[in-house]
């Protein structure tokens, strides 16, 4: 078990890369930075594959490796005087669920690192980018490989930090700096809920370890609908809402597109935002005991899916469309978990990672080719000019739209079927999901046709420089495209004759005695549902074709006809403005008041002390000037006054002196004459 024993290398190799870059990366050349920061995640991926293969040999038993005990039992005393029994380790758990996540993170992560060599090659702060990206890999791997809730939270916070750092990578741009702040603060709101949930778990179960909590939950100690468990699940889900950008905490994700495109691909599509889904899946034993929470998860997932899809219909920035698409697809994943079929959610997470990363990297390639243009209204007819990008983007678009046999088809279909048929699902959820699927097909093909098809709307100066991206960028696109096609096959449904390896692989993780047994449905019903969803997607495709290829004037005419509705959706239903009025401005006012207080009173006090010093110095000066010097001057004046009579005798006239002599003689004579 060589690979598994050193499973901690998987997160630590990227951490080493981060350390090197953030301490000494400034001195390294771009080549050295690339070698270290792309090579180490590559090694990490190789090691992860090794761990996965060795895990298969364990046939369903989870593998745990504890490095050391972080918080030992009896570390502190409770209010009733007894010693706390809670013990938390730094340990790793590899089972089917975390293995899937680990492979997705390291695999897609490595491809994106590789792509970034080309995309970020001409940017300043190259080493900083890779340092942060490696730090992110480390945090995300800690998150998925943790064996307890607290360590997962460490990774959770770490990815939040890296998200902030990377969104605000171009920190000298106000929009980017603001977006980074927004992401972090909105995330924090969710984290508060998450932390409360974790604390409640500690209190209810006396442990934070996944295996222990799962075992306790499945032991029958708690009844279905237990209040404490429901509270835990709802609080944890609040954390997921923040991290995975669901309603009402999704507003940070579209703004996060200010970051470089590889960041959008890795963090805000394939990995970080899926952490919420992973967390819900990991806590499946708890959720199954709280149907209310499950209903909440499914409801929010479905509403978010359709809400975000509707906004994505009219956005003109290529990355914004993909951002809203991500929010929508995450809604699908939560819908799957909410109807009790966590494996379906994880399946969609995996396929989504492939095609969403592909779409983002492809859009990055388009932006690169157009020297930075992101507005789709200024694109068009790029199919022949950047063929590799165009073809891989087509694969991605087909995958996300659920075209048959592409990966998205299998995973999305699984979710739609479960929403329809599961004991936790209902037809309304299914209807919302199907409509969203149609909207998804529409806006994705809208994106495709506006970018690659139709007539060229590219401005003249940009048109000269259009070039296909270098191989370092197109090779990951091709690999991801292959994945977007092939990844679905591991989940080939039983209905169509396949073994559905994926579901069987994940089955041990999700076995819950408390789960409602699923009713048996005829396969013809399942086939019918599948066919219907393909039809809906085809309708979406056709409408997009008509709007943007066959009759390009249609979108404008429609927008003009329904101007207020169009404007409402274009402005994202003014949710950001609402939040600003309700929360942001109030918080800012508190901040401003505190700053004013600090300036006026605290600084005023310091300034006052300074003024006092200068004032007493002035008094000292005046005392010295008037009193001390005054005394001296008075004395001198006195001498001058007293000497005046004597002074005036000194006329320098000899005759006057002679006169005085004579007068003196006369006085003496007179004296003697009178007395004798």
């Amino acid at each position: 078990m060589q690979f598994l024993d050193f499973i901690w290398l998987v997160p630590l190799l990227p951490a080493l890369g981060a350390l090197i870059q953030l301490l000494g990366g400034r001195k390294l050349s771009n080549r050295a930075v690339s070698l270290v920061s792309v090579g180490l995640p590559g090694l990490s991926f190789v090691w992860a594959v090794g761990c996965f293969l060795q895990l298969l040999l364990l046939k369903g038993t989870p593998f745990t490796k504890i490095l050391y005990t972080w918080l030992p039992a009896g570390a502190f005393r409770l209010t009733d005087g007894s010693l706390a029994q809670l013990s938390i380790d730094v340990g790793f758990q590899l089972d089917a669920l975390s293995a899937v996540m680990m492979l997705v993170v390291t695999g897609v992560g490595f491809l994106i690192h590789f792509y970034s060599i080309g995309y970020m090659g001409h940017e300043g702060g190259y080493y900083r980018f890779f340092g942060y990206l490696n730090l992110f890999m480390f945090s995300m791997l800690i998150l998925v490989l943790a064996d307890n809730y607290l360590m997962m939270f460490v990774g959770w916070e770490g990815v939040g930090l890296c998200s902030y750092l990377l969104i605000g990578f171009y920190f000298h741009r106000q929009a980017a700096a603001d977006a980074g702040k927004k992401a972090f603060v909105v995330n924090r709101v969710g984290d508060a809920g998450f932390l409360l949930g974790v604390m409640l778990i500690a209190v209810t179960f006396g442990s934070l370890n996944f295996l222990e909590v799962t075992e306790a939950a499945r032991s029958g100690r708690f009844g279905v609908g237990d209040a404490a468990i429901t509270a835990i699940c709802i609080l944890l889900f609040i954390g997921a809402i923040g991290k995975s950008a669901q309603i009402p905490l999704y507003t940070w994700l579209p703004d996060a597109m200010e970051g470089p495109t590889p960041v959008s691909a890795l963090i805000h599509a394939a990995t970080m935002v899926t952490a919420g889904v992973y967390m819900v899946a990991r806590s499946n034993a708890l959720y199954v005991l709280a149907p209310t929470a499950l209903a909440l998860v499914a409801g929010i997932g479905a509403v978010t899916a359709i809400w975000a899809a509707s906004i994505g219909l009219v956005q003109n920035d290529i990355k914004r469309v993909l951002a809203y698409s991500t929010i929508s697809q995450l809604g699908y994943m939560f819908l799957a978990c909410g109807v009790g079929f966590f494996a379906a959610g994880i399946f969609h997470l995996m396929t989504h990672a492939f095609f969403k990363a592909l779409l983002f990297l492809g859009s990055g390639s388009v932006i690169h080719a157009l020297s930075g243009e992101q507005d789709m209204r200024k694109m068009g007819a790029l199919w022949s000019k950047i063929p590799t990008t165009a073809k891989t983007m087509l694969v991605g678009t087909l995958a996300i739209s659920g075209a048959p046999l592409f990966s998205g088809f299998f995973s999305k279909d699984e979710i739609l079927w479960q929403a329809f048929a599961s004991p936790y699902g209902n037809k309304l959820l299914w209807a919302v999901a199907v409509v969203t699927a149609g909207l998804t097909a529409f806006y994705m093909f809208r994106l495709f046709f506006m970018t690659f098809g139709g007539k060229s709307r590219v401005p003249h100066e940009v048109e000269h420089h259009i070039h296909e991206s270098p191989r370092v960028m197109t090779v990951p696109l091709i690999i991801l495209a292959a994945g977007a096609v092939a990844a679905g096959f591991v989940g080939w449904p039983q209905m169509l004759g396949g073994p559905n390896w994926f579901e069987h692989f994940l089955a041990p993780v999700f076995e819950n005695p408390a789960m409602r047994p699923s009713a048996h449905h005829a396969w013809s019903l399942e086939f019918g549902v599948m066919l219907f969803s393909v039809l809906v997607a085809a309708v979406g495709f056709y409408v997009a074709y008509r709007f943007y290829v066959a009759r390009p004037e249609t979108p404008e005419r429609l927008a003009a006809a329904a101007r207020p509705a169009y404007r409402l959706v274009l402005n994202k239903y003014y949710v950001d403005e609402l939040y600003d009025a309700l929360f942001v401005n109030r918080a800012k006012n508190v901040g401003n008041a505190a700053a004013a207080f600090d300036l006026a009173i605290i600084d005023g006090g310091v300034n006052g002390a300074g003024w006092l010093t200068r004032f007493s110095a002035e008094v000292s000066r005046l005392w010295d000037l008037w009193v001390i010097d005054g005394l001296v001057n008075v004395m001198a004046f006195g001498v001058k006054v007293l000497s005046y009579p004597v002074r005036i005798l000194q006329t320098g006239l000899v005759q006057m002196y002679a006169l005085l002599i004579v007068l003196g003689v006369l006085i003496f004579m007179a004296y003697y004459l009178i007395h004798f």
């Binding site: 005798l649 000194q650 006329t651 320098g652 006239l653 006169l659 004579v662």
Partner: protein, 100 residues
């Protein structure tokens, strides 16, 4: 015989004229002349008392005084010449460098 006090009055008068001349005249040469006058008044006084007391001491002393006066006049004139060379004036009022 002329009474002695006639000589004394003459001496006193000359002395007074000389003193007034020293104190009031502007020209330094005239001041010197007035000093000579004072000295000669003293001489008259000395000789008058020599005749009165029938002793020759007074006359001897008078000759001393005359010699002295001559020497003094020489020195005084020398001083005046040196003064004139420096200050271009023989006006006593203008020689007041040693004032306060």
């Amino acid at each position: 015989m002329i009474p002695t006090h006639y000589y004394l009055f003459l001496g006193a008068a000359l002395f007074t004229i000389g003193v007034v001349g020293v104190l009031t005249r502007r020209n330094v040469i005239v001041i010197l002349m007035s000093i000579e006058l004072i000295l000669n008044a003293v001489n008259i006084n000395l000789v008058a008392f020599s005749r009165y007391f029938q002793a020759v001491d007074g006359q001897v002393f008078a000759i001393f005084v005359i010699t002295d006066a001559a020497a003094e006049a020489a020195v005084g004139l020398g001083l005046i010449i040196a003064l004139f060379r420096n200050k271009e004036t023989v006006n006593a009022d203008e020689i007041d460098l040693l004032k306060w």
